[in-house]
Symmetry: C2
Subunit: 390 residues, 2 copies
Amino acid sequence: MAEAPRRAYLSGVGMTAFGRHPLRSLSELGREACVAALRDARLSPTAIQAVYCGSALGALIQGETGVGQSVAWELGIHGIPVVNVENACASGATALHLAWRDVAWGIHDVVLAVGVDKGVMPKGSVLKVASSQIETQLGDIFPGLFALIAQKHMQTHGTTLQQMAQVSVKNHYNGSLNPLAQFNKLVTIEQVLNSPMIADPLTLYSCCPSSDGAAAVVVCSPNWLHDHAARALRLAASVLTSGDYDPMRDLTYWDSELRAAAQAYASAGIGPEELDVVEVHDAFTISEIIHCEALGLCEPGKGGPLVASGATALSGRIPVNPSGGLQARGHPPGASGLAQIVEIALQLRGQAQGRQVAGARIGLAQIMGGSKGNDAQACAVHILVNDHSV
Amino acid sequence: MAEAPRRAYLSGVGMTAFGRHPLRSLSELGREACVAALRDARLSPTAIQAVYCGSALGALIQGETGVGQSVAWELGIHGIPVVNVENACASGATALHLAWRDVAWGIHDVVLAVGVDKGVMPKGSVLKVASSQIETQLGDIFPGLFALIAQKHMQTHGTTLQQMAQVSVKNHYNGSLNPLAQFNKLVTIEQVLNSPMIADPLTLYSCCPSSDGAAAVVVCSPNWLHDHAARALRLAASVLTSGDYDPMRDLTYWDSELRAAAQAYASAGIGPEELDVVEVHDAFTISEIIHCEALGLCEPGKGGPLVASGATALSGRIPVNPSGGLQARGHPPGASGLAQIVEIALQLRGQAQGRQVAGARIGLAQIMGGSKGNDAQACAVHILVNDHSV
């Protein structure tokens, strides 16, 4: 990808509470998040020049297509390009990446990215994700795959059950300080280890939930900022990539993530040691450990000791998932990538209340979606900076 | 939208036969179309820098997400941005629009757009498109909506059943000359009028089928063309917009289409009188009549007399749907927008065999998707030009 000719800024963020919303439609959830983001940006819906809407499960579970247009309709937005995107758990981050492209290349000046999903399914219903694939039919669904990854990480790097459980403990603590998180209860290492086994070694509290919810952000150009006194954050890097598929590869990392991280750091001119706050895709406890390694927050293989040391806690050297992450904030797949951005924005603007990371100025969000040939089908990394000088 | 800083070219096209492919997966169909497009462009898959994949029904009917990544996997494409897009029947055209943006704004030099769907459903299964919407629950599904549109057009403009039937007769004739079309049989006006009534006045042969199939195109930059001797066509305009929703509006046209057409003509510096060949979204016979009016191929309200006069036949003044259109080529929703582009490309390159429009140099493709507030949720118009001078 060529270098972007101009900067792009995040001028507004918003999200719904994550959790169970059985009586609310996708478009209603999306509307709430967008209204919050537009108010935050002090923008009228009519200022928006394009909309990207990420939803991973809208069609699959709700039987709904055209979700972005339904959200736009609710907002009174019409007559502009609206594109629905699906990249599994990276759908929301993909919507942001496309919005960033539009602004950074001068196609548009003000673009709305929204992510929405209803992941809570009626008891007994079967999720059909990738059900036509031979891997799925043979039982290679996400908990099984990540259990293998965890086993291999334990074997290779000596990662312990206690270290993995500490991810869940930390993120549930953070979630208890986030009023929009799905879970507000603390859990202990013992509770994580003793919760029902899903796929050895992953117990119930080692896995994120399926949730309902929406998140939205407004991306705008430097020109536009000069006319509007917004508290804008600079999008210093936006990287989207797909996997380097290799069924024979080591399970303990993803090439796509190493590549996305390297590209993002190079693009931003920022190294991992400069980050103040990070959100990663903790679909399972082992995931956060591997992402910390891939993002360079510690040495390869040392993600377990990192979390056990408290370095990634709210008060630690480099707080990870201050929002509670997928584990406690919840996980509506299409929305999670943008909910991460909402959290980073609140942190960089000093608005994260009880979970505020003191003096946070540079933040990173990482998410991935889908799986194929031992890599992710999509991996996105975004870096945000509060320049205090816009 | 700002003006694009550079030109973009279509360097390769390909598609599968449209029809019933019960034993073939979405990724297999997508692969076949992409391999054809890459061969046509004389390109290795590794030259592709980004992939956009349009599918409207993949998740809904097949329970498949990440279709673009599955297609890329089949092609050996990895490590680049892959984005799945859904904009109902305009999904494939949306994929092309995003590919065009990437190239025209210098983000990438070589981008693949693919559209794929399996629309053929087992007997008795219920399509859930928009099933959560109140309009759908009240019976406002597409055949019903377009029956109302046809009735209103007949009342307002005097359009006749025979004129509408002539659309189907013409398109089935064209389809009989297209080896990749789903239907190769001729129909008569009497057969169209006497086929089973679906929603008065629309009979079975007034409606397009639901089909399986895929289509793909390669978009590339001028720089890249200088290094590769491709038979490239210039993408003179690529417009994507959403509707100006107004539930009280006249049913006999769509504002989004008038706007998209005006933008496309302005962007290309080309008027409707300069077009040599046109593909439109003939989901129902009345649709083609209205699209001919909206695109300025005749006066408003005169689309019925236009088709009856033979002007839009293969040998007429301005041939419309030489491929057979949705009516005869078939309609896998995510693929149709790109199948139109494949047809325009073959026509402009003089490769349309028995259905060749003599001397065709400038072509237009129009498609729309979804419905809300009496307008389309998405409308796309593309104009292609054979410059003979690349």
